[in-house]
Symmetry: C2
Subunit: 419 residues, 2 copies
Amino acid sequence: MKPTIDILRDARSAAPALSAAATADKNRALEAIARRLLSERESILAANAADVEAARETLGAVMIDRLSLTDDRVRAMADGIRGVIKLPDPVGRVLRREVRADGLIIEKTSAPLGVIGIIYESRPNVTSDAAALALKSGNAVVLRGGKEAYRSNAAITSAIRMGLRDAGLPETLVGLVEDTTRESAGEMMRAAGLIDLLIPRGGAGLIRSCVENAKVPCIQTGTGICHIYADKDADADKALRIIDNAKTSRPSVCNAEEVLLVHKDIAAAFLPRLKERLVDRRKEAGLTPVELRLDPAAAAIIRGTPAGEKDFDTEFLDYILAVRVVPDAEEAIRHIALHSTGHSEAIVTENAETAEAFVRAVDSAAVYINASTRFTDGGEFGLGCEMGISTQKLHARGPMGLEELNTYKYIVRGSGQIR
Amino acid sequence: MKPTIDILRDARSAAPALSAAATADKNRALEAIARRLLSERESILAANAADVEAARETLGAVMIDRLSLTDDRVRAMADGIRGVIKLPDPVGRVLRREVRADGLIIEKTSAPLGVIGIIYESRPNVTSDAAALALKSGNAVVLRGGKEAYRSNAAITSAIRMGLRDAGLPETLVGLVEDTTRESAGEMMRAAGLIDLLIPRGGAGLIRSCVENAKVPCIQTGTGICHIYADKDADADKALRIIDNAKTSRPSVCNAEEVLLVHKDIAAAFLPRLKERLVDRRKEAGLTPVELRLDPAAAAIIRGTPAGEKDFDTEFLDYILAVRVVPDAEEAIRHIALHSTGHSEAIVTENAETAEAFVRAVDSAAVYINASTRFTDGGEFGLGCEMGISTQKLHARGPMGLEELNTYKYIVRGSGQIR
C-alpha cells in the first residue's frame, strides 16, 4: 500500500504541469479520460461488481444502489466529463485591472489552487466528476473515497490516469488514497503544504472532524437544516406548493426543508391545509406521509408528534418536518440565526418589504423569496457543475463550481518602476 | 475585567444592526467617529503618554516610536477614517446574475462576514484603521491589541464608541479585548460561531499559532520572504535599481526583498555592481550598508558573508540580502517554490517569454515583471486601504481591502417556483 503522504507529494510535484496548461490541452486530456472510461468499462464494472458483492452483507438497499454502477452509469460518467469540457476555463480571468500613472499594470488574475483533496463516501461517480472539475480548473487532485467503493474507485482512477498519459500529462495529477481507514483522512487534514484545499463530502461527523482538526484549508460542506417561513402575507397556495416540494421531492438531500416556521396570524387556517397536503393526501395516494413534529402552538391547531428539544436542530434527511408558530418575521429571522446551518432558507410572502428585510437579515448561503430551497445546486444556479455546497462564509459559499476551485494572484508588469 | 467571550458575544449580537445598514448611515457613523477622535484627542494623548511612560523600560526606540501618538498622528487617524468614508461600499454588489427560463432570479450578492477579530501589536493607529474598515464593510469587530498599547487602544475605542452612539448605532459593534495576556488570543482563535474571520497581524509566532490552533476562519498575513530573480536577459541598470529599492527603501516591511537569485551568465558582471551599489556606495554616503550573504558561487565573485543554512529561509527585515547564483530561470522558479512564503516575487528580464513563464509558474500573491516588490500594498494596488496582506490562497490573497472583508450570499427571487 502506497503511503498517503507519498500520493500527496506526487500530486504536489505534478501540479505545476497543469497549472499553466492551455484550455485546449486540458480539454484534450478530459476527452482522453472520457474515452478511457468508456474503453475500460468492463474492468470498471467488474471491480464494481466485486465491491457490491462484498458490501451486500453490511449495506442497505439504498446504499447498495448508490454504490452500484451499470453500463449506463459509466456512460453517464463519460458524458459528465464531456460536460466539463464545455464549461469555460476558470483560470487566467482578469478580475481587476489597474493601470497606474507610472505605467505599472496590475492585474488580479484567477489561478489554480494547486492540490485539492476530497474525502467522500460511497458513490463512485464522484471519483470521475471531482477529478474532471479539479483538472479543468488547473489543479491536481487527491481522492479519498470510502472503503466499500475502493475497487470501483481504483478502476476509475486507473482509467483516468490512462487518459492523462494519453494526453501527455503526468498521471500523478490524479491520486487515489489506498488506505481507506480513518487514519488516511486524518493524514490529509494534517498535510499542511501539500493540500491547498480539502473538501470533505460526507456526514456531519467527517465535516466536524475537518473543522476541528484540519491544518490545511478546508471547506465545510453540505449540512442543511433549511427553513421555510410562511409569513402572514403569504399566498397560502404558493406556500403549500413550495413547502411540499422542498420537503418531499427528495428528502435525503441537503437542500431539503427540515423546519417550517408559520406566522401566528395564518396558523389556524394554514396548518390544517398543510396537514391535509403533507399527511392525509399523501397517505391516500400511497406515498410516505410526512411526520409533523409540532411545537405547542402548532399542536394546538393540528395533530402530529410533539416536537422534542432536538427537533429544531436536526437534519432529518427524511419525511419529517419540524413546525413552529412564530409571532412575527423578526422571530422567524431570530430562530433561523439560532438554529440554521447556513445552507438555504426561504420566505413565502407577498409583502415585498418583509421579503427584502428577510433576505438582508438571514445569513445563509442561499436565501429565497417565494421559491423552493431545493434549487440550491450548482447546475440549477447556472454554474454548470458542482463540487459540493459550502456552508461557510470564507472563500466559497453555496454551490462550488469551477471558479471556486481557483484562487487569484496579482500579476504586475512594469518597466523598472520602484516605490 | 470583562471576559473576552462576553465581548465577542456582544459584538455578535450587535452585528445585524450594521450588516443591513445603508451606505449613508455607515458613512455618517464613520464621520461621527472621526469627530470624536478629534474631540477626545486630549484623553487619547494622555492615555498614550501613560503607555509610553510605562514602556520606556522595556521597549527600544523603534518600538517606542511605533507606540507614540502625537496631535498630528491622532489627526491622521481621523483623516484615515474620512478616507474610508470615500471608499465605495463593498456590500450589496451583485457579483453574478442569472435569470432562469422559469423566471427565478438568482443574484450572487456581496454581504458582510459578521464579526471580524483582529489581533495586533503595538501601533495604536491600527485600532481606528481596522475599526473603520470593518464598519464600512458592514461588520462588527473585536480588537485585541498589545499589552503595551492598552491604555491608548482603550481611549481610542472609547472615542469610536462615542461616535457609534452619536450615530444611533450599538457601541458594542466595536469591542476591545481587555485581557492582554496570551490567553485572550487563544480564546479568540477558539471562538467558533462568534468570529467569522480572524486576522492575526503580528510576528511569525502569532500567525503560526493561529494556523495551528484556530477553530475560527483565519487569514495568514504578512510574512514575506520576497525574491527577486535577475535573469540572464535582465537590463542590469533596471535590476540594480529595483533590487536597491526592494531591499533598502524600507527593510522592516513584509514586501521588502530578502533573497536575490542571479542567473549564472550575468553573475560575474552583475554581482560586483551589486556590491558597489548596496555596500560600497552606501558606506561612502554614510548609509547602513547591506550585508550580502552569499552562496558559494556568488562568494567566488564578490566578498560578503558566507550564507548559512537558514539564510534562504529567513525574513531578515533588516539590511541583509541572501544571494544565490542559479543556472537558469527554471531553477529560480524551483528555488522560490521551495523557500518563498508566497508573498511577492519579481523577475527582472527583457525577455518577454521568460517573464511570462515566470509569472505563470510562481505561486505567490504578487508576481512582478521588472518592478519592485515594494508595491504589494492595498494603497499602491488601488484598493484604497489595507487590512493586511494575505499569504494564503483561500478567500483573500495579497492586500486585503474592503471587498475581502465581505462574503457573498445567493439571493433568489421567485413567484412560487418549485423544482
